[in-house]
Amino acid sequence: MQVHELVGAVHEAAWLPWAVQYFFLIAVSATALLTALPGFLSARPGGIRAARLALMAAVTTGVAAPIALLADLHQPGRFWEFFVYTNPTSWMAWGAWIVPSYVALVLAFAWAVHRPGFHAAGARDWRFAPLYRLLALGGPGNGFAPWLGLAAGAAAAGVLAYTGMEVMVVRARPLWNTPLLPLQFAATGAVGALGLMLVLERVLCRDGGLEAQLNRRLALALAIVGALGTLWLAAGLSGLSPRHAEALASVAGFPVWQRIALWAAAAILLPFLLALAMPRRTGWITGLTAIHAAWMFRWSVFMGGQAVPKVGSGLYDALVPAGAAELAGVIGTFGLWLFLAIAYTSFIPWSDAARPAAPVRRAARPV
């Protein structure tokens, strides 16, 4: 039987590119924080330089993300209702509590890690000394930082869990309703975080050893993303998982989706091979491609997912940004991030950040 739709309604995307920006930034932030923690919390030497960049990435994207989220609300002025009328059956309602906790804990952890630096800057004789004295809150001690770090790490895990589940539970969109999605969000988030760290390394450090170290980690994250993608495809093609099969069927057969699949494969394979073969001197290209891959994954999932009609025929136009306002949202969010990154590197003694000092124990008094 042949079917031709003669009259049908077009449904515009209800989650705008702001949502793509939010999910991209928050995943980069959460995975960057989890990457930073071992460097700051373990006694193993060597990880601290990467950890500094990771923390920078976590803080700057973590602050920018909720702003993009707020912009995606059609009634941003009512955001307070999330906290007054929390509906426990909604993952989004949980997210409303998890995200601010996460951002607050990341900021608190970053403050604690940099407290000795703030204190030192406050002790110098210069124009901004009073400001840094204020920031240091009267001392250099940061023995409590590991606890803040662990709490922020738990909140980061919460962020990854809720963002994945929030999208995964939407049965009405087969492309979203796949059990692998939360893992894919987390793994591509790590790819984006490492990509961002590589770019930051190229701009701020230019240290071949660190570049190689980050490239090797990136290769591992890309391998995980590739493995998850292969698993997704295999589960769909074999029909072993009906939900993956349905997801695949919802987009297979559309040339635009075949191009997206090829593009995504290239965006994973290219930096993977480069990072493995030439871990030095490729940081710019692997880093930028990795950021692109993580971002494009979300664009395809969110805008592409909304381009698939639930009852109508064909595809809607959501895959392509619909005009200047949407592009402005994307560019504006990245601009905000850039501003935060410049502020962070200008005002925070980030390159002095060290493993938090163990709490000073009182000497045992002689009895």
Partner: protein
């Protein structure tokens, strides 16, 4: 209660004589069981695709230009060796008994009313559009005049006043039938008893309250096949100008 247009109004008339303040649901059966359970039966054999319901709904509910609470999809089906057939499919919110749009709402702004309608409290809705994503029927949208979630209400304001929903009232072919599914005497209940009916996307287990007589199963889910002509991308109306 009778639910053809004439019957529905007739029943209201009878009730109104006895109790001036009575509304649509105030028939004897409903009085015993409490609230009515509104439902719709669409007899596709009678739909002529005139879109009078689409227009009536827009006028009644001030639906903005770029959206629909209800519309009639029109398909051409060409079966092997047969002449092409034109098929109409009126679409609207199914007022599901297990509505996936309700549990996802982060602030509890969308809810199921006692009489079965799934409604949105626009004064509470934060416009997050999670419900728009969760509805398997594309029955919801963000209303850019109110910046909140919008959808068919089964014309709650009209049924409260003893009137039929605007689309039913205006249906030229008499395809749309509305009434209390709890009332065995009601026309829609009788239609459900006497006809084989189907619902859209039964695999979603949403338990819709909109039933169809004569629905071809190639149309009950996401309809495969060629899409209707859509204006080219740059001719599409601008979405909406939100900013930070």
């Amino acid at each position: 209660m009778d639910t053809t247009r004439r019957g529905f109004l007739g029943a209201i008339g009878q009730v109104s004589i006895g109790a001036a303040a009575s509304v649509a649901g105030a028939d004897p059966a409903a009085a015993e069981t409490g609230a009515p359970h509104w439902g719709m039966v669409v007899d596709l054999r009678k739909c002529i695709g005139c879109q009078a319901c689409t227009v009536a709904c827009i006028m009644e509910n001030a639906v903005p230009e770029d959206a629909f609470r209800t519309h009639v999809s029109v398909y051409e089906l060409v079966a092997e060796g047969q002449d092409p057939a034109m098929v109409m499919l009126p679409r609207l919110c199914n007022h599901c008994d297990d509505p996936p749009c309700v549990p996802v709402c982060p602030v509890g702004a969308t809810f199921k009313a006692e009489s079965g309608e799934v409604l949105v409290d626009a004064s509470r809705c934060v416009g997050c559009a999670y419900c728009v994503q969760a509805c398997p029927y594309d029955a919801r949208f963000i209303n850019h005049d109110t910046q909140t979630a919008d959808k068919c209400t089964f014309c709650f304001h009209r049924t409260q006043a003893g009137l039929l929903p605007a689309c039913v009232e205006t249906c030229v072919g008499g395809a749309r039938n509305f009434g209390d599914l709890n009332d065995p005497e009601c026309e829609v209940a009788r239609m459900l008893r006497e006809h084989q009916v189907s619902v859209l996307r039964p695999e979603m287990h949403t338990n819709p309250n909109v039933y169809y007589i004569g629905l071809d199963e190639v149309l009950d889910g996401r309809v495969a096949g060629e899409a209707a002509y859509r204006p080219p991308f740059d001719a599409a109306p601008a979405r909406h100008g939100e900013g930070l």
